[in-house]
């Protein structure tokens, strides 16, 4: 009833769906890809595996965006930055594990040899350790988000103002990473990875491992998000979205609530980025372009913000459409994407999930009204 405490995270049906998703990711997909022969109808192609793996990373980002935008009402135009930073942090490890197999056979990455650098700059220290790199994946976006968020939220920067400022931050970072002297490979970024933990990176098995990891991360993010939004903290977040001054005068300090969810959201993006980079084999400053960050918002909007399943649906719909368009009608992709932006904001404020719910409610109404007759 109205006891909306944490209690049960999902109903039995919800848990059923979660378990089904886990089986699909961990057992069915590897089976279809690795065991079922290529010619078979049920074979899952390598292309599909990497595409779905990629989109699952996007879905994590979309969920993170939903926590801060859908539930807390803060539109971030910097989530692409956090995603890219996570990717770069893990990319540093990947670059170092190339070892001497680069074009110049040097212990330094090719781009540093090209710049005539003799040693790694200080911020590359220890990145050859896998665990340290994993720590950076969490810390770099997390600390940046925390510091930025602390000052922004403390100054009560809200709404569009906040969005514009995050966009400026993203833009500044993109410019920074485009410079060769920054030490992250300039325009070209990181690429030509060879191995993770001494296993070669471009094998079907490794692809499947990354796929499964992304899937698990997505399910984990979903569970975490579900736990948060169904806790009292989640209700405070929604309250901040709807009436921040009431929250303040009720004795909650919105600063720490916003900062918590904002930092968590950035960290989730960083993790998604770290899973994404080895799957696509490249990370460059283009990932930080303001356009990417805005697009994340549209994944959430398409699926339905303020719901947990919405962002996942949205990420799959938009990115699925992209991969189809770029093959079939590359010219029209931007037209289509632009149209989605407009259509969703004008006609689908609650996204696809909201639309489905609406249709369902209508059908139920019809049934009810049909019964007495």
């Amino acid at each position: 009833m109205h006891r909306s405490g944490p209690g049960a995270l999902f109903g039995p049906r919800g848990w059923g769906a979660v378990i089904a998703a886990l089986i699909l990711i961990c057992a069915v997909a590897p089976l279809l890809n690795l065991v079922v022969p290529k010619g078979s109808l049920f074979h899952l192609s390598d292309f599909s595996v990497s595409l779905i793996g990629k989109i699952m990373c996007y879905a994590i980002v979309a969920l993170a965006m939903d926590l801060i935008w859908g539930y807390t009402g803060i539109l971030s135009l910097g989530h692409g930055l956090f995603f890219a930073l996570g990717g770069y942090a893990f990319g540093m490890y990947l670059m170092r594990s190339i070892g001497l197999d680069g074009v110049y056979k040097s212990p330094l990455p090719d781009f540093m040899v090209f710049l005539d650098w003799k040693a790694y700059p200080w911020y590359w220290s220890f990145t050859e350790h896998f665990l340290y790199a994993c720590l950076l994946v969490v810390l770099v976006p997390g600390v940046l988000a925390f510091v930025f968020g602390y000052f922004a939220f403390r100054s009560r920067i809200k709404g569009v103002y906040f969005s514009i400022i995050t966009q400026a931050m993203t833009f500044a970072f993109m410019l920074l990473f485009f410079r060769n002297d920054t030490g992250f490979g300039g325009n070209n970024g990181f690429t030509d990875f060879k191995r993770i933990l001494d296993y070669p990176i471009f094998t079907p098995q490794m692809r499947m491992v990354l796929f499964v990891l992304s899937g698990l991360a997505l399910v984990g993010t979903l569970l975490l998000a579900r736990w948060i939004v169904s806790s009292k903290l989640g209700r405070v977040l929604t309250a901040i979205r709807d009436a921040e001054s009431r929250v303040m005068f009720s004795g909650y300090d919105p600063l720490w609530y916003k900062l918590f969810i904002w930092t968590l959201s950035a960290v989730l993006c960083g993790i998604a980025g770290a899973l994404y980079v080895p799957q696509v084999g490249i990370i460059n400053p283009g990932e930080m372009s303001p356009a990417n960050s805005i697009e994340i918002a549209i994944w959430v909007a398409v699926g339905g913000r303020g719901t947990l399943i919405g962002p996942i649906v949205g990420a799959f719909l938009v990115n699925g459409a992209r991969s189809w368009f770029t093959v079939a009608f590359p010219e029209y992709w931007l037209f289509f994407l632009g149209a989605i932006f407009i259509a969703v904001t004008l006609f689908l404020p609650n996204g696809v999930v909201g639309l489905v719910a609406q249709l369902r409610a209508k059908r139920r109404e019809k049934k009810l009204s049909a019964k007495p007759a």
């Binding site: 109205h2 009292k232 303040m248 005068f249 009720s250």
Partner: protein
């Protein structure tokens, strides 16, 4: 009816009933010398326009004070200063003897025991009535506690009692956004009561209410006075007449007159201001 409500309220507001207790206590409220709110020489100006002009105002503990005044007299600005929303250019504001309001943030002031109702009813529209009250409830309001918070039965009882008090016991699961205007006003008052404040600031609490609702609100306020201190800003003179013990008239950012209702109503300057003679 009213007495029942009062009893319930008293029964549940004792320290024993509060599980978590207050954790953030900046200064202990000290009202031993009488005044609970003490504004001295407060000036607030917006681009040269003085919204408050050397305002000095004292409210005794347990008092029910009504504040009236024409538009732009500085009533809302005064509440903004007390609750930390606006920082004055000069002056001092103390809550009790020891708590300096001008150095505290809004949440800290709320914790110290000042509750505020806005002119426009402000509730969490996406949340249910129950959740609104739950969120307002006096408890540890820091992030980590909220994440692991569980509702115990004492809190549930307290919420149920308040639902009765504000006549929303029938609709705990209704989203607050679907309530009528008057119901929203009541819900907001209920949320204030859940905060267990020592001082309640109420900005036009009966605006948009039916006569019956207004009457009940007057009863509620009368019952609250004494245990709580109430400062009510209102334009509805009948309502003010029904609850007022002391009335303060604000005009152009400072106190024009203060005293019993009939004294103030017959004050020459007040008549001049209101009737524009």
């Amino acid at each position: 009816m009213t007495t029942v409500v009062e009893d319930e309220n008293q029964g549940t507001s004792g320290p024993a009933a509060i599980g978590g207790g207050r954790v953030i206590e900046h200064d202990v409220l000290d009202v031993t010398h009488g005044p609970i709110l003490y504004l001295d020489d407060i000036t607030v100006s917006f681009d040269g326009f003085k919204a408050l002009n050397n305002l000095t105002l004292t409210v005794e503990a347990g008092e029910l004070r009504c504040i009236i005044g024409p538009n732009g007299a500085g009533k809302t600005t005064m509440m903004d200063v007390i609750t930390g929303k606006t920082r004055p250019d000069s002056g001092t504001a103390f809550f009790g003897q020891t708590i300096d309001l001008l150095r505290m943030t809004e949440p800290q002031i709320a914790h110290a025991g000042i509750g505020r109702k806005f002119q426009k009813p402000t509730v969490f529209e996406q949340h249910t009535v129950f959740e609104n009250l739950e969120l307002a409830m006096k408890t540890d309001k820091r992030v980590r506690r909220s994440l692991f918070a569980k509702l115990d039965s004492a809190h549930g009882d307290l919420i149920a009692a308040t639902l009765e008090q504000i006549k929303l016991a029938q609709a705990p699961d209704r989203p607050a956004g679907l309530l009528s205007h008057g119901q929203k006003q009541w819900l907001e008052i209920g949320m204030l009561l859940m905060q267990e404040p020592r001082l309640l600031l109420l900005d036009e609490p009966v605006a948009g209410m039916t006569d019956a609702e207004t009457e009940r609100t007057a009863e509620l306020f009368n019952s609250l006075a004494g245990k709580h201190t109430l400062v009510v800003v209102e334009h509805d003179m009948d309502f003010v007449g029904a609850i007022a013990r002391t009335v303060t008239v604000l005009h152009e950012g400072s106190v024009l007159a203060e005293g019993a209702m009939d004294v103030v109503q017959n004050d020459e300057r007040v008549i001049e201001v209101y009737l524009g003679r």
